[in-house]
Subunit: 239 residues, 2 copies
DNA sequence: CTCAATTTGTTCGTATGTATG
DNA sequence: GCATACATACGAACAAATTGA
């Protein structure tokens, strides 16, 4: 009696997932907008609660929907949390060469700042530069936890003036993955004169010298790169 | 008998998800390695079938595990498929300014090639350059579908010699998102002399001129940028 | 504050579809 | 064709969280 017109090729929960996405798009919902309850979705889509829930969990993992226990289901924030979780796990799994992912991550993080040198410099204004300088200074006096927070904020503010939301979120995401993976692989933070390395970037930006800016960015990542390479080499010897 | 020491803060399926990830890491499994069956996981983790299945669906969405109907559950390929699906959905949802995501995507795609100009040039060898030339040529004669395939392959091969798996996968991912979102927003491909624009990149690489390479990359994305900007402007007028 | 209503979380039992030998 | 092992799907019941009367 149940409408059984779905062909065998596709899985039901995939269909349900697609239809929930289409529901959001067709109704032009925004992040935070409420979705129908699970039971309403069951009735509307002609699927059991289990299938609807599994579909919702898939969308939840991608931050396309967000589920609040006892409250309801809502359109998600569309963040890059799935990228962070996936890359973090990959970084922890990499066989035989755990540090390859870290090494590649440093390359990409450097690219985002070095490759946008000219655009960043022309977009940075005075107050912004002062904030960056303050953050760099705080890396000398603050305790470890605060220093890490300041570092994350520094690199986020560095690319924010570009006005590219995707670049900003990717910058945060890669920073998050790196700081999540590195310690779990036994890699301690470099902390090699962070104040000077960060201030050099700000100084070059203030001078409007994009070549010096790029050099300062490279210099900033150099000690990190060295530490990763050393750990990588030590591991390759062990194997 | 069941360890019920989980405090209220965490959801059971989250715990199950974490423990499955730890199982993979602790046993040093590789992509493709088989995981215990659902029933075995239920017994091992003291959770019901539904909770285990919902946890697995979460990990499946991140390509951390891969489920084959009637076959079993395996460690996933750890691809960036979740990033592609998430960004694609974001591109289709963006309120009032659908083309902002496309515009940002072009920036990032250009950055990956322009910002790595020097490294790409020094890593490219003769045969590689010949392949790129052939791909560029095929964009003139081939039908639409083949032309798209050639374009994807061209940009993939351009960054591949860097030897950075993450860069290669991100390049593919951003290309996939762009080509998935653009047509659904009514944006037709630019196709403005693709042979010349791509050959110019290869030519600059062959000459070992990283400045010319960067310029050629910018020129390549210029018509795409123009089309996106035009569509964006037209939309802002409508609203 | 307590109670009731709503909604998601979790469990269990059963039946079906799929792949392998 | 058959048997086995596995994931898929359904439905009913109860638990836990949140909100508001």
């Amino acid at each position: 009696m149940v409408s059984n017109e779905r062909v065998g090729r596709s899985l039901l929960r995939q269909e349900v997932s697609e239809r929930i996405k289409r529901y959001i798009l067709d109704n032009r919902l925004r992040p935070g907008s409420p979705l129908p309850t699970e039971n309403e979705l069951c009735a509307a889509l002609g699927a059991s609660r289990s299938s609807v829930r599994e579909a919702i969990k898939t969308l939840d993992a991608l931050d396309i929907v967000e589920v609040r226990h006892g409250h309801g289901t809502y359109v998600g924030g569309l963040s890059l949390s799935a990228l962070v979780e996936g890359l973090t796990f990959r970084g922890l799994l990499s066989p035989n060469d755990d540090f390859a992912v870290l090494s590649e991550l440093v390359d990409v993080r450097e690219l985002f700042e070095r490759g946008n040198a000219a655009a960043i410099i022309s977009a940075l204004d005075g107050p912004h530069l002062d904030t960056l300088d303050d953050l760099a200074s705080s890396m000398g006096t603050a305790v470890d936890a605060d220093r890490v927070v300041a570092d994350r904020r520094f690199h986020a503010l560095l690319v924010n003036p570009l006005g590219n939301e995707l670049v900003s979120q990717l910058t945060d995401a890669f920073w998050d993955v790196f700081t999540a993976v590195a310690p779990r692989l036994g890699l301690t933070p470099s902390d090699q004169d962070p104040v000077r390395l960060h201030k050099a970037i700000v100084h070059a930006a203030r001078a409007g010298d994009s070549l010096a800016f790029a050099d300062a960015v490279v210099a900033h990542y150099a000690p990190i790169r060295t530490r990763v390479a050393a750990a990588r080499h030590a591991q390759s010897i062990r194997n």
